[in-house]
Each structure stands twice: as C-alpha cells, then as structure tokens.
C-alpha cells in the first residue's frame, strides 16, 4: 500500500456530521462508507440519509444502537438510501417515511474485511473509506494528536462506537489512522479522531466492513 492515503484529498468524503444525543453512530459509519463507494463507482459525492436508517432499519435499534452488518442488509431490502436533504436527520426515531422514488444510491451487497491492519491499509487505499468500530473510552477526553491509549483504557473487545476510516499516514514518525467521527466539527481535529496504527489499538481492526456497489 502507499505510505499514506487520504480519501478526503480525492473527494470521496462528505463533511463531518453530528449524531446528536442518539446512539446512531452505526448509521453514520455505514452512510459514510456508501457515500465513498458510490463516489468511486459513479463519480458524484452525495450526502446520504442516516435518518432513513434510524426510522426504517427494523433490524437495528435506532438511537439505542445498531450493527453495520444489519444496516447493509436493511438498505438492500429497502432498495437504497435517500439523500440527506430528502430525508434529513432529527436525532430521534420517527415513523418511517421512506420513498423509493427518492433513492439516490443503492448497494448490491456487503463484505467483511480482514482483521490484519496491513491488509486493511491496502484495502482502504484501493477501495475507499471503510466502516469500522472501536472502543471509544479515550474519545470522550480527546482533543487532538495521534491517540495511543494503554490497553487498560481501550479494551479491544469492548467495541462501542462505529466510525469511518478515511485515510492513514505518519505524523513525526507515528503511524496513524484518520477517522471521521459523527460528533460534529467541534470535536477533536475538525471532527476527526487520529488513532495509532499498527497495534490494533482499541480494536480498530475487529469490525471492518464495506458495502459493494456494482
């Protein structure tokens, strides 16, 4: 894989969003991935609706949490995702008012990635931003820089937050993952969290997935 890569430099990442007081990180992680996949296949970057998933994805639990693997399946069954502007985010569950005619992007299937960080790095550079999940304990206190918490603070089995891997590189010799979060732009570094790359820190390698757009 190249020494560094950042899909923000290639137009495949929409602006940082804000999930508000709702556990809907899974929806933002998945829409972020599909935005990237749709861009790479069709050349247009859309901002896709998380609220549609919060309201209409019956496999998941809206603000009480959800799984990317379920969300991909729900999107396939629904027939696709509407744009953010057509189905805007409110941060709490409402009745589903999905409209097929407004579908802006669809997916054909979804895949799970290897748990080897080198493989993940190469896959990201070749295929686009990746939906991932990690232990977010340190993120409550994070302001900036490359975070590398001790394992006792970041149990890799206690995964509790889904985010989007958009790039990787090195800062002053410290390898990092660039992670798009969904807590608004006033969090971390303009909405991004940078995590040490190479030690499976915080379980970042455990739940990598992507939609497939033919």
């Amino acid at each position: 894989a190249p020494a560094s890569w950042d899909w923000r430099d290639h137009g495949a990442v929409s602006p940082v969003k804000n999930q508000g007081m709702c556990g809907s990180c899974w929806a933002f992680s998945v829409t972020g991935n599909i935005e990237g996949q749709w861009f790479l296949k069709n050349g247009s970057l859309l901002s896709l609706s998380e609220q549609e998933l919060v309201d209409c994805d019956g496999l998941d639990q809206a603000c009480r949490g959800g799984l990317p693997s379920n969300a991909y399946e729900a999107i396939e069954k629904l027939g696709g995702l509407e744009q953010e502007t057509d189905y805007s985010y409110t941060g709490h569950k409402q009745n589903c008012n999905f409209a097929t005619k407004k579908v802006a992007a669809y997916i054909n299937s979804s895949v799970e990635l290897s748990k080897d960080e080198k493989e993940i790095t190469a896959w990201l550079a070749e295929n686009g931003p990746i939906s991932v999940a990690l232990n977010a304990f340190a993120m409550q206190f994070y302001r900036k820089g490359v975070s590398h918490p001790l394992r006792i603070f970041c149990n890799p089995w206690m995964i509790d937050h889904a985010v989007l891997l958009v790039g990787y590189g090195e800062r002053k010799g410290t390898p990092f993952w660039a992670i798009k979060n969904s807590w608004g732009e006033d969090y971390g570094e303009q909405g991004y969290y940078y995590l040490y790359r190479g030690s499976n820190a915080c379980g970042i390698n455990r739940m990598c997935s992507s939609a497939v757009v033919n």
Binding site: A1, P2, Q19, M21, G23, S24, C25, W26, D60, Q61, R64, G65, G66, L67, S69, N70, Y72, S109, S110, V111, E112, L113, S114, E119, A122, W123, A125, E126, N127, A133, A136, A138, Q140, F141, Y142, R143, K144, G145, V146, S147, H148, P149, L150, F153, W157, M158, I159, D160, H161, A162, K172, T174, F176, W183, G184, D186, Y187, Y196, M207, S209
Partner: protein, 233 residues
Amino acid sequence: DLDRPLFGPPGSAIRLHESDQGLKKALEFAEDRYNRGSNAMHLRKVSRFISATKQLVKGIRYTITVEVSNTQCKKSSMLKTCDFYRESQKLKTELCVFEVWDIPWQDTSTLLKQKCQPIVEPQIEETNKVEDQSNSQPLEESVALLGQFKEFLVKYNKVYSSQEEAERRLRIFHENLKTAEKLQSLDQGSAEYGVTKFSDLTEEEFRSTYLNPLLSQWTLHRPMKPAAPARSP
C-alpha cells in the same frame, strides 16, 4: 411581587454583582454567623468577593463564594473599622462558600451552608525550597478549576437547571479532568486529552447517550462475505 421580574423562571439561579443590596445584607449575616461559630481570637472579614447567585425559593437563597481573612481587631473589641493584616501569613485567608436563606416578609435569615478551606501559600524556606503542593488542595487549583469550568460553560453554551446541578456538573468536570490527565500521562502517542464538550458527563451518561453497546454483542453479528484482498498499490 416586586422581585419576580428580577428573577428568571422559578428555581433558576441568577448571577449577582457585588453591589447588590440583598447580597450585601446576606453577606453581612454570613460573616457574623461565621465569626460567632469560629473560636479564632481575631475578627475575620470578607477580604475578596469571587461570585454569588440568588435563587427564588420560599424566600431567596444566596450562594456566595468569597475569601475571608484575619483583621487586626480582637473579637472582644467593639471597634467599628478593622484593617486586615499586611503580612499574608497572618491573614490566614480561607476560600468560603456560604448559602444564606433570606425570608424578607419575616425579616429572618438562615445560614444553610458554610464550607471553607484554607488557602495554602507556597512556603519559601531559607533554602528557597518550594513546598510540594501535589498532596494538598491549594486555592490556585480550585480557582483554576473554576476558571476552566467557566470557560467550558461559555464555549459549549452549557446551561444547568439549578445551582445544585451546576455544582454536581463541576464535580463531574473535575473527575473527568483527572481521567484526562491520567490518559495523557500514559498515552503512547502524541494525543492531547483534556476538556471536550463531553467533559460534564459521567462515563455512564456519555456511554448511554452517545455510544452503541450493541457493537460488542458479538453474537448479534450477521456473518458477512469476506472481502477480496487488495490487488495492488
């Protein structure tokens, strides 16, 4: 009902300026009660005003944060004007929080709370060694914490429903700062930890509001097709 227009919604705390007449009366009452309750020889008076709020309850509740120091007057003397000592060691200054409940229509006041802690000055000995502060609660730390909390409230536009809630959030804020310091001291990367917009939330509140515990329930995960490995750079 003259006071009502000067108050926010029932129960909300309103910040006061030092010159507020009601506050002056409450502060004099607190000072008097403080001196009656202490067995110090010298009369102690408010040497610096820090902050105060008032709240409409059955009457008015004042919450006042001030510094109190020794004057040169003995308690037994009936002198009206008393100067403070010039030497800081003799001042024996304390940071105090008083809560006074004032019932105007009965012309009575009650001291609900009095919390004071000494302000420790750095001790410079002949050898010019500065005493280690880490195991004591110096005022600077408290004032710095209050300053950080105030900055946090303004930056993230935080409003709390009552003085108690504000004090509870301050305690949580303080705990979170200590956790951030621990993370900072043990981090193996180049991260900076500290105050964020989540700094007034307990770990449990943060987890239940913003996180997604379903993710670590592995049995729920639907098996997915494995992705083909990357072909080439």
